[in-house]
């Protein structure tokens, strides 16, 4: 490796480190704004064996989301009444009809009432 390339590589890694610190800092800033419940709701929503919302929905921070359902954004504006959003997660068939592909998370005991409340708390931050 020539000195010039070495210097370039060093500069490159310095930038990479700085960038990752920046990203980590931003992520930290965003997460620290969440309450404990919202934070727990987020991890339930993202976990494959729990909410697994990302299987179908695009949402902030989520990697490789599916595109079967609508993007989860501006949830507070779309569902001004929080209970309505809870009801959709509990059993989407009531709002969207019996053919809807979204699982009835509460009605089929995929998540508990407390878990869904936390997920809804988190969705409200999106």
């Amino acid at each position: 490796m020539t000195p010039k390339i070495q210097a370039l590589t060093k500069a490159g890694s310095a930038i990479a480190v700085a960038a990752s610190l920046l990203v980590a800092g931003q992520a930290f800033a965003a997460d620290s704004a969440l309450t404990k419940n919202q934070e727990e709701g987020k991890s339930i929503a993202f976990a494959k064996s729990e909410g697994n919302c990302l299987a179908c929905h695009k949402m902030a921070d989520g990697t490789q989301p599916g595109n079967i359902g609508p993007m989860l954004i501006a949830m507070k504006i779309r569902y001004p009444n929080k209970q309505d959003l809870f009801d959709v997660v509990w059993d989407p068939r009531k709002k969207f009809g019996s053919g809807v592909i979204m699982p009835p998370f509460g009605d089929h005991k995929i998540l508990t009432k407390e878990q869904i409340e936390k997920v809804v708390d988190y969705l409200y931050t999106l």
């Binding site: 179908c56 490789q64 599916g66 989407p92 053919g99 699982p103």
Partner: protein, 301 residues
Amino acid sequence: MKKLVTTLLIAAIGTGVGTAMAADNNAPSAANNFNPLNNPSDPAKFAQEYRDYFYKNFPQIPHDKYNMGVYAFDKDAFSQYQDMMQFPPQDDYIAAGKKFWEDYRLPNGKPLSSCVGDAKGLRAKYPYFNTKDGKVHDLESDLINCQLNAGVPKDKSLGSKKGYKDLASVSAYLSSMSQGLKVDVKVPSDPKAVAAFNNGKHMFFRKTGQLNMSCADCHMYHATQMARSETLHPGMGNTTGFPVFRYSKGKMITLNNRLFGCMRDTRTIPFKQYSSNMLDLEYFLAYIDNGLEINGPALRK
């Protein structure tokens, strides 16, 4: 007039709820174009409507490419597929299956072909409805039953856990011996055959399990969309490539095994392997594939 419309609407919703097959109001427009409740009970007419749904909603997929699954329309997946096919992992199975087919003898000294006939074109004769026993037969279950009827103990048969590798190999070999032939599944004019087809259809459209999903939810109404990073393949051309070597599992998977896995993964209790519900579902899917080229043993991610 308004009252009539309302009544009709309520009636329509009522039937929809009853069988849990109503169209998905939340889904993209494609979902609303097929209502299996309008379906004719005649298998040929139903299959035509079913195929038309796919032609209409996925014009990007040419008819004869449906037997390629997602590789027919997903360019990235297709290029990965081509890489995987540099050294086709199916070849070892085909060779092992050929050897098994030629060397294996039943307790009575006869080969498996004494039950099912010659290897050439055999796959293309399956699945079929046997009017004598009133049941759907698939190739794998006929091979297993051939052994059981000849006195092979169940735990030593191709249907056992230990026998699975041989079963998958011989299944792969037999598919390779029908490559290029077209699927030609018949529903004879026997009420039991029509009932078997319709039961298979019901298995495909019924909502089931903890996640409350049907096969149709993903592979019809939401086909070509993404579940996480996986593209959902359409519910047509599913049977032609089986058994398939799955890269993610590192082994050859029979159709029965695949359906079993899909049910388990969507959190429903799978039907027993080679049970009538499972065979009827295979029968339904294969009938839909009529006219498509047999291209097994195929390769899937």
